[in-house]
Every structure is written in structure tokens, then in C-alpha cells.
């Protein structure tokens, strides 16, 4: 679907990498939304619908879960949940009712959102253009290629991590750790600075890792799609390889979250 209907390569790529944004009319510049109070409708819708579907299915299955012979769906969900739980058990040694559900949510949600990448890049836009009649309407189908989503998740994880710190160590204990590790109380300002850098780096690296991987993967799909007929032998291998990336990124996000939680729950 390269360069047809007056599309240039640049505008094709642009079209595929633009979010469907809505904002107040006052905030628009040349018809484009700028400024902070903009909402990416595509990210919100796709991630929300995917999450409702998959967690709805999981909740429905869990409500009928039996200790007897499990059904196919229950068995599959138990397998996924069991895998995540095993990771939590291996890494997180504190007591918390939140960590396992948090890890399950992250792994499953990130995985299904990443998996949207496996739908051919032009499938969504073509369907959308047919339905709405507007072939220029931007719509990104992979929510994890939007840094807003990844940052929202990583900042949420960061907040939970802070809360965990306060809950487990108490305010005094946490402050003591912040100011006295790793160099001892005499170098309190240095310790504090180290700690701030260390903790700020956590959500940023979490968010940018997922965003960067998925954005780059999407970009490669778009570039392959630009090759016309030659995309056929290339798209499949990249798609297969991408299955690995999708799973790996979901796993890494989950795993690092568990590690951060366990660091927060353990005193030095």
C-alpha cells in the first residue's frame, strides 16, 4: 500500500505514527492538538477495550473456577497466572496481596497490547477508512507505541513502589534508608542524590524500554510495508521474530516491577 492516492512515503509513515488526538478547540494549532490537555483517543480506546476484554474473560473464568478438572480456558489462564506467580514467589519475599495481581495485570495487559502489533499495519487503517469514510483519520492500533501509556504504567508502578516503601519500612525507616545507604549517615546528601537518581531512573527506563521496543518494531513493520511486493518475504520473519519481542517486553516489564517491589519491601 505504498505511495498511492497521492501519498508520499513520508506522509504514509506520518499517518501511521500519528495518534488520534482530541482536545478543546482553543488548544488547536492548525487543526492539530497541542499542549498538555490532549487525549489520545486511540490509545485510550484500544488499551481500554483490550483490557476490558481480557480481564473480563479472566474474571468470568475465575468466578467459575473449580478445583476439579479445569476447562481449557481456565487451564490456560491458570498456566499464565501460575507462571507469573512463580516469578513473584522466586523474587518477592515480602508479604503483599498486591504484588502478584499487579504483576499479572502488567504481563497480561502489556502482552495483549503488544500483540496488536501482529495485525498487519495497513489492516486497521483500511478498515477504519472504510467504516468512517475518512482515509486520513490517524489511528494507532498499538497502544504501547504511545509513551503516554508506558509512562502512565511506569509512574503508577513507581507510586506503588513508594507506597510499599512507606508501608513496609515506615516513614522513619524509609528516610533512614534514603539518607544513609549506601555510604553511611555521614554522606547523607550524596546518598540522597544517589537515591533520587536511582529511583527516577526506574520509571523512565521502564517506560522508555517498552515504548522504544514497540515503536521501533512498529516502524520496521511500516518500512517493510513500504516495499510493495517485496514485503511478502520480509513481513513474515519479522512478524515471527516480533512474537518473541512482544512476549519478552511484557515479561521484562513485569519482572522489573516485581524486582522494584521486592527492593521496596526489603530493608538494606
Amino acid at each position: 500500500m505504498s505511495a498511492e492516492g497521492g501519498l508520499t512515503t513520508a506522509s504514509y509513515i506520518q499517518h501511521h505514527l500519528t495518534n488520534l488526538a482530541i482536545c478543546a478547540d482553543a488548544a488547536k494549532v492548525d487543526g492539530h492538538c497541542t499542549g498538555f490537555w490532549t487525549f489520545h483517543l486511540d490509545t485510550l480506546l484500544v488499551s481500554g477495550i483490550l483490557g476490558l476484554l481480557v480481564f473480563g474473560l479472566m474474571a468470568k473464568t475465575a468466578s467459575k473456577a473449580t478445583a476439579g478438572v479445569p476447562s481449557g480456558v481456565q487451564n490456560f489462564i491458570e498456566m499464565v497466572v501460575g507462571l507469573v506467580d512463580q516469578q513473584v514467589r522466586d523474587t518477592f519475599h515480602g508479604k503483599s496481596a498486591l504484588v502478584t495481581p499487579l504483576a499479572i495485570t502488567i504481563f497480561v495487559w502489556v502482552f495483549v497490547m503488544n500483540a496488536m502489533d501482529l495485525i498487519p499495519v495497513d489492516f486497521g487503517p483500511v478498515v477504519l477508512a472504510t467504516v468512517t469514510g475518512d482515509s486520513h483519520m490517524p489511528f494507532k492500533f498499538v497502544p504501547t507505541t504511545d509513551p503516554n501509556l508506558t509512562f502512565a504504567m511506569s509512574i503508577s508502578v513507581f507510586c506503588i513502589m513508594l507506597w510499599m516503601n512507606f508501608k513496609v519500612k515506615g516513614f522513619g525507616g524509609f528516610m533512614h534508608e534514603v539518607f544513609s545507604a549506601p555510604f553511611g549517615p555521614k554522606l547523607a546528601p550524596v546518598n540522597f542524590l544517589f537515591r533520587v537518581v536511582e529511583d527516577i531512573a526506574k520509571p523512565i527506563s521502564l517506560a522508555l524500554r517498552l515504548f522504544g521496543n514497540m515503536y521501533a518494531g512498529e516502524m520496521v513493520f511500516i518500512l517493510i510495508a513500504l516495499l510493495g511486493l517485496y514485503q511478502l518475504p520480509l513481513a513474515l520473519p519479522w512478524e515471527l521474530f516480533h512474537i518473541l519481542i512482544i512476549t519478552l517486553q511484557a515479561f521484562v516489564f513485569m519482572m522489573l516491577t516485581i524486582v522494584y517491589m521486592s527492593m521496596a519491601a526489603e530493608s538494606h
Binding site: T43, F55, A65, E78, I104, T105, N148, A152
Partner: protein
């Protein structure tokens, strides 16, 4: 790709999904999995117990069988002994009976002989008298010589 208010929307979604997982997904699944684990463990333990019980029962039945065999052989031995005893008894009785029969027979024979002798005695006197009558017809009178004949009769 700019950071904007989508952040808040996504954080709300995230919180909602964590809540769903925490409240409706993880606890029932965890319970089901733990229950199943317990059931399997119980099942395995019951199987192990059953196996042990079966082994004990097999041993017990083997014991019972052996005991029964021993008892049976004892019974057979006692029966044989008794049979032998009965046979011995019978033999003894038969011998006594036979002896009795023999003694009776002997006595009878003797009686018979005695009777025959008696008869013979009576007949001999008659014959002797008849012979002597024939020989001494003319010269000897039976009445004259009765005392001689009487002493002869006594002498037999």
C-alpha cells in the same frame, strides 16, 4: 509523541485493571489452584495408604492360608492315626472271635465224639452179646453169664 493528559486516562485504566485482577481474578484462581493441589496431595496419600492396606491384607490372607493348611494336615494325620487304631481294634476283636469259634467248635467236636463213643459203647455190648450168642448158642446161657457181660460193659 508528546506527553499529555492521556497519561491520566491510562493510569485510570491501569488502576481499574489492577483492581479487577486483585479482586476478581487472582483470589478465586489462587484458591482453585491451592485446592486442587491439596486434592491431588490427598489423593496421592490415599493411594499410598490403600497400597499399604492392600499389602497388609495380602500378608494376612497368606497367613490365614498357611494356618488353614497346617490345620488340615493335622486333621488328616489324626484321622489316619484313628483309622489305624480302628483297624487294629477290629483285628484284635476278630482274633478273639475266631478263637472263641475255634474253642466252641472243639468242644462241640469233643461232645460229638463223646456221644459217638456212648452210642458205640451201647452198640458194642449188644454186638458182643449178639456175637457171643451166636458163638455160644448152645452152651452158654445169656442169663447165666449176665454178671460177666455186665462187668464187660463196665470195662469199656
Amino acid at each position: 509523541m508528546s506527553i499529555n493528559a492521556t497519561l491520566f486516562g491510562q493510569a485510570i485504566w491501569f488502576a481499574l485493571f489492577i483492581f479487577i485482577t486483585m479482586k476478581y481474578v487472582w483470589p478465586p484462581l489462587q484458591k482453585a489452584m491451592a485446592d486442587r493441589q491439596k486434592q491431588i496431595a490427598e489423593g496421592l496419600a490415599a493411594a499410598e495408604r490403600g497400597k499399604q492396606e492392600q499389602e497388609i491384607a495380602a500378608k494376612r490372607s497368606a497367613d490365614a492360608l498357611r494356618e488353614a493348611k497346617e490345620k488340615a494336615s493335622d486333621v488328616i494325620a489324626a484321622a489316619e492315626k484313628r483309622a489305624q487304631l480302628i483297624v487294629e481294634d477290629a483285628k484284635g476283636q476278630a482274633k478273639v472271635e475266631a478263637d472263641k469259634v475255634v474253642v466252641n467248635a472243639k468242644a462241640e467236636i469233643e461232645q460229638e465224639v463223646e456221644r459217638a463213643k456212648q452210642q458205640l459203647r451201647e452198640r458194642v455190648a449188644e454186638l458182643a452179646v449178639a456175637g457171643a450168642e451166636k458163638i455160644l448158642k448152645k452152651e452158654i446161657n445169656a442169663a447165666a453169664h449176665a454178671d460177666i457181660l455186665g462187668s464187660l460193659k463196665q470195662g469199656l
